[in-house]
């Protein structure tokens, strides 16, 4: 096989892996939009908050220590213990559930029946609040996140594939963290599908997604379902935060990964979980292959541009996205 073909294959595989990471972020958006019609602008910041909380719990950091120290003149920063990763993840899930309850109780409950744009604006406010709140709670310095996930290229894959090309081909590079992310994403989607198909709460969630009023009329609590949906979205945000935070450290930029999810949502549709996955894969592969083939001719850095242009094309020809519900306007 020619080296160029092998390089393109390597880019293709890495594009798929990158797409999985994008899809992880997009999933959170889809869950909330599907159940409540809210485009949750705060999803990226939720990933940041979840990851910061996880690191804070793991390292035994005292929340709001800067404020405590400033008010009381103390010098407390750490409790002096370290929490194992798994337990810290469970505790963080608990924090995200409390967060979901607070969002529902303080913000969303008062906005029931409002226009979608009002709800969207509320989530913008929520995003800015959560940004500052995260900094106050855990500090704004970069935190190293290590929950024991492997990182770096897989030697085994490199060795197994090195003989496919000439001496200039060193075998396929596939980051072990990306492999883990793919497995986790598959498990997450499978779990979400099983939850929504085979549990009472899952079926109630689907009922609310289909028709709020019909669901209310058969006794489903809208409040409970929304808390449930925001909790699940919080859990998805935590997973995305762990994967991205392991790569770059936990810091403000983590909240900007939402920008990577937008073209995925436009392409896959805002209401489809499979759409988020397929959209993520198409964007991931498309942008990487475009950068590989065309990037060098135009000076590079084409990935963001390509993702949004592709999403724009879909908006023009299929505004509901690949898997979105068909838009039917009756006059």
């Amino acid at each position: 096989m020619s080296d160029q073909f092998l390089f393109a294959t390597e880019v293709f595989i890495n594009g798929l892996m990158a797409g999985v990471l994008y899809a992880l972020v997009a999933l959170g958006f889809v869950l909330i939009y599907k159940a409540s019609g809210i485009f949750n602008y705060a999803q990226g910041v939720m990933a940041l908050f979840a990851a910061m909380t996880l690191v804070g719990i793991m390292q035994g950091q005292v929340p709001f220590s800067h404020i405590i120290n400033a008010i009381f003149g103390t010098e407390v920063h750490h409790f002096g213990w370290h929490v194992p990763a798994l337990m810290a993840i469970l505790l963080t899930v608990g924090v995200m559930v409390i967060f979901a309850w607070l969002v529902q109780r303080i913000v969303m409950r008062h906005l029931v029946g409002q226009e979608p744009i009002i709800l969207f604006m509320a989530t913008i406010g929520l995003a800015y609040f959560l940004e500052g709140f995260s900094d106050l709670m855990w500090g704004s310095e970069i935190k190293t996140l290590d929950v024991g996930l492997p990182q770096g290229g897989s030697f085994w894959i490199e060795d197994m594939t090195a003989g496919l090309g000439s001496d200039n081909f060193y075998g396929f590079f596939i980051d072990q963290l990306d492999i883990v992310a793919t497995v986790v994403a598959v498990l997450l989607v499978a779990g979400l599908v099983l939850f929504s198909q085979y549990t009472k709460q899952g079926r109630a969630m689907r009922a609310v997604a289909d028709d709020h009023q019909a669901a209310l009329s058969v006794g489903i609590s809208l409040n409970f379902i929304w808390i449930l949906v925001w909790s699940v979205a919080g859990f998805v945000a935590l997973v995305a935060g762990i994967m991205w935070g392991t790569k770059s450290g936990v810091q403000f930029s983590l909240s900007l990964i939402a920008l990577k999810a937008l073209p995925v949502l436009m392409l896959g549709g805002f209401t489809s979980i499979p759409g988020a996955i397929v959209g993520g894969l198409i964007i991931g592969v498309g942008e990487k292959l475009f950068e590989f083939a065309i990037g060098p001719m135009v000076g590079g850095a084409t990935e963001n541009w390509f993702a949004y242009v592709l999403a724009l094309l879909f908006l023009v020809f299929r505004p509901q996205g690949l898997f979105g519900e068909k838009i039917i306007e009756r006059v």
């Binding site: 390089f7 970069i142 942008e287």
Partner: protein, 427 residues
């Protein structure tokens, strides 16, 4: 009643208006946003040094200093707003810590006759003081940084880079593009190949760039990054097992938080610098005693000795020394921004002065003049030790390629002068 109202109004005016007796140093900082991790220690170092001067020395020349901090979020529009809202308070010198903000402020500070110091960033050709009368970028600029990298690689490769390939991974912004022209000139001069790999803001995803590096196997990778781009690049370099000793960043890509995320794999990574690293300097003992221990530190006091804290403190020290120089020239302690400009243009930093300030060998000795607002452009190299989690200076502050940089500065500043109708000359 009327009297009470008048008193209240006067009191309010005095509280809200500028305190003219203070020497006002604005700090256009960014403690929030994607680049906060770099902005915070710099702002803390800048603030703590002025607090030290107030607490230990009673200010500068008997005048207390006043720091006016304004949050820019590393956003150019906000930076300009900060400038407009603080300049009326008697601001002596601006340090925007952003190349984008610098470009917007150059015409403004020139018109308002307020000096601006862009140490290691900003518009490189501002080193030509005959064109950029109010902009200073001593002791080193981007092009010195680029040349310093190449000089170091020359030195470590027996003086020959012919046929070698250097890949530049850069932040796809005005800042990141600054060294390209210089590196192109140096590539022609020394016979190496240059590959450029832009990374879009914020730089969280760099798989394509590092796969390309893995395919093309350049001999060296040079990084011009900021923010999360640095951490991701170092992690990706480690992932593809690119040798860290052949990976070297500019001074904005060489702080502790840039390398800590990658853990032991970042060991050996290098960065150029224009000042020393670590906390083994007497000035830090004073900061600990007079600022941190008294609860007056801008931050938690745990950043002292970190690369960017040191840089902020160094910037403050250079501003304070320029203010002293201005006080000497004009015979008054209560200097104006125009006087401060004169002080900056006549600034002399020598070893004796640095030692007296508790900062021996903290930075190079240099003189500023009307013709040269950029200083000597001496550049050193630091290296990261992952085990001890410290940066060490591994070279002297060495000269950079004045021939190449000088001609580029002349060309760029001449173009700026003709575009803006400026007649080059000394004030």
């Amino acid at each position: 009643m009327k009297m009470k109202l008048t008193t209240l109004a006067l009191g309010a005016m005095m509280a809200a208006g500028p305190v003219m007796a203070d020497l006002v140093f604005p700090s256009l900082s960014y403690r929030t946003g994607p680049y906060a991790a770099g902005g915070i220690p710099f702002a803390d170092g800048y603030a703590d040094y002025f607090t030290l001067l107030n607490e230990r020395d009673g200010g500068i020349g008997g005048e207390m200093t006043k720091l006016v901090e304004c949050e820019t979020g590393y956003n150019t529009e906000k930076g300009v707003e900060c400038y407009e809202s603080t300049k009326g308070q008697g601001a002596l010198v601006y340090q925007p810590l952003s190349t984008g903000i610098t470009y917007q402020l150059i015409p403004k500070v020139t018109a308002d006759n307020i000096p601006m110091h862009t140490m290691g960033y900003g518009r490189t050709s501002a080193a030509n003081g005959e064109v950029f009368s109010n902009v200073f970028n001593y002791p080193a600029n981007y092009w010195n940084g680029a040349s310093g990298v190449v000089n170091y690689l020359l030195e470590s490769n027996g003086g020959d880079l012919k046929g070698k390939t250097i890949a530049l991974v850069f932040h796809n912004s005005a800042y990141g593009k600054e060294p390209i022209r210089t590196l192109e000139e140096l590539a022609t001069k020394h016979g190496f190949n240059l590959t450029t790999l832009p990374v879009d803001h914020p730089g969280q995803e760099q798989k394509s760039q590092w796969l390309q590096i893995r395919r093309e196997r350049p001999d060296f990778v040079v990084m011009w990054g900021w923010g999360v781009m640095n951490q991701v690049a170092i992690q990706e370099a480690a992932n593809i097992r690119f040798p860290m000793e052949n990976f070297i960043g500019v001074w904005w890509s060489g702080a502790e938080h840039d390398v800590l995320s990658a853990g032991a794999k970042a060991d050996g990574y290098k960065a150029v610098t224009f000042h020393n690293v670590g906390r083994d300097f007497p000035v830090f003992d004073d900061i600990q005693k007079y600022v941190v221990d008294t609860g007056k530190a801008a931050g938690a006091g745990d950043q002292i000795g970190n690369v960017l804290y040191n840089r902020g403190m160094y910037a403050a020290m250079l501003a304070a020394e320029a203010a002293k120089t201005a006080q000497g020239i004009h015979g008054t302690a209560d200097i104006t921004p125009a006087m401060m400009r004169d002080g900056m243009e006549a600034l002399v930093i020598d070893e004796a002065k640095m030692a007296a300030l508790g900062m021996p060998n903290f930075g190079p000795a240099f003189n500023v003049s009307c013709e040269n607002h950029g200083g000597p452009g001496l550049v050193g190299v630091t290296q990261w030790d992952a085990e001890s989690k410290t940066w060490s200076l591994i070279s002297d502050f060495a000269e950079t390629d004045g021939e190449v940089i000088g001609s580029l500065i002349d060309a760029d500043s001449s173009a700026y002068a003709s575009e803006n109708g400026i007649e080059p000359g000394c004030k």
